[in-house]
């Protein structure tokens, strides 16, 4: 059950925007398509909704094939029984809040919509505004009307197309929680499209990272964060230091020859173009010099502070070490030019592939 996508291809004129991708969303699962703009994530979602027609591949919703160009099969969006929340909310301005929410029911010929509308508005906490016009609502309220409308007819599938990108930061945080709670209660599969890694990590059971029309990696948020398959994923999710490392006579070393221990599990023996991923928060940054040491799965290096940015809970420092500049956090005040000690475990320093055949756009991926 859930959604099953197999070999989906979509091209506009001669340009392929989706190159044969496959994935599943299990019943009740919350899956996010994550990627930079233009990676094909929204097109994939629109193909599943039936708003775009794929060129090849099959899409099945709860076991029913809704799109299969090879068999000339295409089920129109209104017959796919889904609820969708749009980036622009797409609340109809000529209808009241209640009429907007009732639309999926009235359009199916249902006469008594009162209970269902009351329930949906109650779920999003807008009961008091049911007679308002959309123009009288704030952005956050409109967004919740869109959500109520999407769930009012109890669809078997929920689709979200960057629903939070027009909200301000504070509202985004709260709505994020609401969406995942509603989805969990409804127990329907949900597919969520975003370019925002925070949304993807915080809401999803599983995340599918896309780039240039391909699936780069799929896994749980923890998987993606800690075990990214390549530099693109590592860079796109969370902030990252990339260490240019090479294999020396007695192990891995930094450009200036400083020896360093890396996660042995990530060492595939392939030495070409190696970079090591080291998350800034994995580095313990302390004032003073304690001497370099690499032993017992620990790295201790000495560096020099070359830049700093005060962020409130801590400060972010740029530290020059071993011919590289690394970002690290510390609550201590470290004057620019002073020496500092960096400590991190070998397990936190993972070798990752520096690229994939289709990662052309690393520059704007961060």
């Amino acid at each position: 059950m859930g959604i099953s996508v197999r070999g989906l291809v979509k091209s506009y004129s001669a340009v392929n925007v989706i190159h044969s991708i496959s994935f599943d969303v299990a019943d009740g699962e919350f899956v996010t398509l994550l990627g930079p703009s233009g990676c094909g994530k929204t097109t994939t979602l629109r193909c599943i909704a039936g708003l775009d027609t794929p060129n090849a591949g099959t899409i099945a919703i709860n076991g029913r094939v809704v799109s299969d160009p090879a068999r000339k099969l295409f089920v129109a969006p209104h017959e796919r029984d889904l609820g969708m929340v749009f980036q622009s909310y797409a609340i109809w301005p000529h209808l009241t809040v209640a009429q907007n929410v009732a639309f999926p029911l009235t359009v199916r010929g249902e006469r008594d919509t009162r209970d269902a509308v009351a329930w949906a508005l109650d779920v999003v906490g807008l009961t008091k505004l049911s007679d308002r016009r959309p123009s009288e609502l704030s952005g956050g309220q409109q967004q919740r009307v869109a959500l109520a409308r999407a769930i009012a007819a109890r669809p078997q599938l929920l689709l979200f197309d960057e629903p939070l990108s027009n909200l301000d930061a504070r509202l985004r945080d709260r709505t994020r929680l609401e969406i995942s709670r509603i989805q969990k209660e409804l127990k329907v599969p949900a597919l969520y499209v975003t370019h925002d890694q925070t949304e993807a990590l915080s809401m999803s059971d599983r995340v599918i990272v896309m780039e240039a029309g391909h699936v780069v990696q799929e896994g749980t948020p923890e998987d993606l964060y800690h075990r990214p398959v390549n530099r693109f994923v590592a860079d796109f999710i969370g902030s990252a230091n990339f260490l240019d490392v090479r294999r020396g006579p007695s192990g891995w070393q930094l450009p200036d020859g400083t020896p360093i221990l890396v996660d042995p599990a990530s060492d595939t023996g392939d030495d070409s173009g190696s970079v090591a991923l080291l998350r800034p928060e994995a580095i313990r940054l302390e004032p003073g010099v304690h001497g370099d040491l690499t032993a017992a799965g620990f790295n201790r290096l000495t560096g020099r502070v070359v830049g700093s940015m005060y962020l409130g809970p801590h400060a972010e420092y740029i530290v020059e070490v071993g011919g590289l500049q690394l970002r690290a956090f510390s609550r201590a005040a470290l004057p620019r030019g002073s020496h500092a000690t960096l400590v991190f475990t070998a397990l936190d320093c993972r070798l990752v592939a520096s690229g994939t055949p289709h990662s052309r756009s690393l520059a704007h991926a961060g």
């Binding site: 797409a90 269902a116 906490g125």
Partner: protein, 585 residues
């Protein structure tokens, strides 16, 4: 959003009665085929509307007999006839008249738009209203009024000779300059209305930048404002040129007595006065249509290229340029325009309609109601009024619905062949009304359809001619409507036709109303497309006015004109009251 902070936690308790989910609705709106059938239907209708008259004209231009006559044969003489000195003279006159009209109308219309929207002119609202009113003032009624004023036996000459005793100077409206003068008066509101949008939509920061760089207001106008408006100016000038080329009412009333013939009137003369030459008329018509079509094509190109240049949609507040010492000259000029384009013609017609025999001196005049009471006794006139209301009221509804359907397909759904549909809708826009009428005359003399001599034919002619008005107003709205509004309806379970019915239509109602208003007004005053295809039973008010004037019955023509204008104002107010959406124009 302070309003929704502190909202109670969402209750996820399900209602006791969980709403069931019936299968997607079926039926007339539920299945997918309605729109497809609609598309085929709209495509076929537009193809017939646009292509039949054109094809008939082309065929007719190779015939040597009148439409429907069995004894004709094929010939090339009509096309050879284009090279005759008569036709070439007419073509030259047409180009001179249209060129001069466009030049003057552009200068005055643009200047007025700049003054109204860019300076501290005191009465912008009143002046905009006056210009909108004179935009709807029918051209042939304006021509009639100016004949009464400026003909050799008219008001001005009477005044000059009898009251002032001046013999060495007189005016004659029956001339090229007379035609140009009245046409300029008629075209100025059009130029104003087309330039007003671009001028108001201009991003003020460009002008402010030039002012802060030290440019004087005039230097700014010359070096920043006008160059930035160049696309809009060129586009407006081309449309103005098309309207001047196809203008029929003014040159037929003023030019025929003055022996000044333009292509549009030549077509009429060739069809109405013996020896008739319908084939030559068709060839002349195609030539005229070629000229206007060329200008339309150029204009469409320009409009496409210029869209991104001028308007940023960020119409901000702009510091008005002080008129200073120019204030009173400008005020006088505007007042003068209002008088000669609107007030004086209306008063003259009112006066003429109330007197028994024409005299320039109201103190000599014998006043009478007979021209108005005549309307009560004349069945012909009453029939014409009823016909006009049927054709305008019903025809505009047909037109706006067909136009909206076309736009929905060409702007939003874009099914196979939508470009062809778009082109066919625009095609008649390049065809002058008189030429369209001639094409329909040729077509329905041959086609075995019982349309000749019916109001349906008149409606067909009007809808064909003015369909772009409807497609443009509806299309502009469809472009603005965010695509996701409709997609949200589909994903919520609505079929495409249900989405149109419940989302697109209600959201587009204002522009549909505005389109209906435009079509109603255009149909009400149209004469050029009617003049060749009307019969006694299908005469409309514009034709009645014109034919009374032709029969030198100035009094009756004026009374009918006054009646027509009162009806127009009444209907205009009624429509604006009933359809708030139409007010945007």
């Amino acid at each position: 959003m302070p309003g929704d902070r502190g909202k109670p936690e969402m209750s996820l308790a399900f209602p006791v009665r969980v709403p069931g989910r019936p299968a997607a609705a079926r039926g007339w709106f539920g299945t997918g085929g309605v729109l497809r059938v609609g598309y085929v239907g709209v495509f076929a209708i537009v193809a017939l509307l646009a292509l039949i008259p054109v094809a008939a004209l082309v065929l007719g231009s190779f015939r040597d007999s009148a439409p429907g006559m069995p004894d004709g044969s094929w010939t090339l003489s009509n096309w050879a006839g284009l090279a005759s000195p008569g036709v070439i003279d007419t073509l030259t006159t047409t180009l001179i008249v249209a060129g001069l009209t466009t030049a003057f109308a552009m200068v005055f219309g643009t200047a007025m738009a700049l003054v109204i929207h860019r300076t501290d002119f005191r009465w912008p609202g009143a002046m905009t209203g006056l210009l909108a009113l004179s935009f709807y003032f029918p051209s042939f009624i304006l021509a009639m009024a100016w004949i009464v004023i400026g003909s050799p036996g008219g008001l001005i000459n009477n005044l000059l000779q009898d009251a002032l005793g001046i013999e060495w100077f007189s005016v004659d409206i029956y001339s090229v300059s007379g035609i140009v003068f009245v046409m300029v008066l008629h075209q100025i509101p059009f130029v104003y209305l087309t330039m007003r949008g671009p001028i108001m939509g201009m991003d003020p920061s460009y002008e402010e930048a030039s002012r802060s760089a030290g440019a004087s207001p005039l230097a700014m106008l010359r070096r920043v404002t006008l160059p930035m408006l160049s696309y809009a100016l060129a586009s407006s000038a081309l449309l103005c040129l098309v309207m001047a080329l196809e203008q029929f009412g003014i040159p037929v009333l003023i030019g025929v007595p003055g022996r000044v013939t333009v292509l549009a009137t030549q077509i009429y003369l060739l069809c109405r006065f013996p020896p008739t030459a319908y084939g030559l008329a068709a060839a002349v018509g195609l030539t005229l249509a070629f000229l206007t079509g060329l200008a339309i094509m150029l204009q469409r190109r320009l409009a496409k290229g210029g869209r991104s240049v001028v308007t940023t949609g960020k119409a901000g507040r702009i510091t008005p340029i002080p008129l200073g010492a120019w204030r009173w000259p400008v005020n006088l000029l505007f007042g003068f325009y209002a008088i000669i384009a609107l007030v004086l013609p209306s008063l003259i017609l009112l006066y003429t309609s109330l007197i028994k025999f024409f005299t320039a001196n109201p103190f000599d005049a014998a006043f009478t109601w007979r021209n108005y009471t005549y309307v009560w006794h004349s069945e012909d006139t009453q029939r014409a009024i009823v016909n006009t209301l049927i054709v305008s009221g019903g025809g505009a509804l047909v037109g706006v619905l067909l136009g909206a359907a076309c736009s929905y397909f060409t702007v939003r759904l874009k099914p196979t062949g939508w470009r062809v549909l778009d082109l066919m809708v625009m095609l008649p826009f390049g065809i002058p009304g008189i030429v369209l009428g001639l094409g329909l005359l040729w077509a329905y003399a041959y086609l075995p359809l019982p349309l000749y001599g019916t109001l349906t034919l008149i409606v067909l002619a009007y809808v064909t001619r003015f369909l772009p008005y409807a497609t443009e107003t509806a299309g502009a709205r469809f472009v603005q409507l965010d695509r996701s509004l409709e997609e949200a309806a589909w994903t919520a379970g609505a079929s495409k036709q249900m989405g149109v019915w419940r989302i697109v239509m209600p959201l587009s109602l204002p522009s549909l109303q505005s389109g209906y208003f435009l079509l109603f007004m255009a149909f009400f005053r149209e004469i050029s497309a009617t003049i060749l295809i009307f019969t006694a039973a299908t005469s409309v008010l514009s034709v009645s006015i014109w034919s009374s004037f032709e029969q030198a019955n100035w009094g009756l023509a004026s009374a009918l004109s006054i009646l027509a204008m009162v009806m127009m104002v009444a209907v205009m107010s009624l429509l604006l009251w009933a359809m708030p959406g139409a007010r945007t124009r």
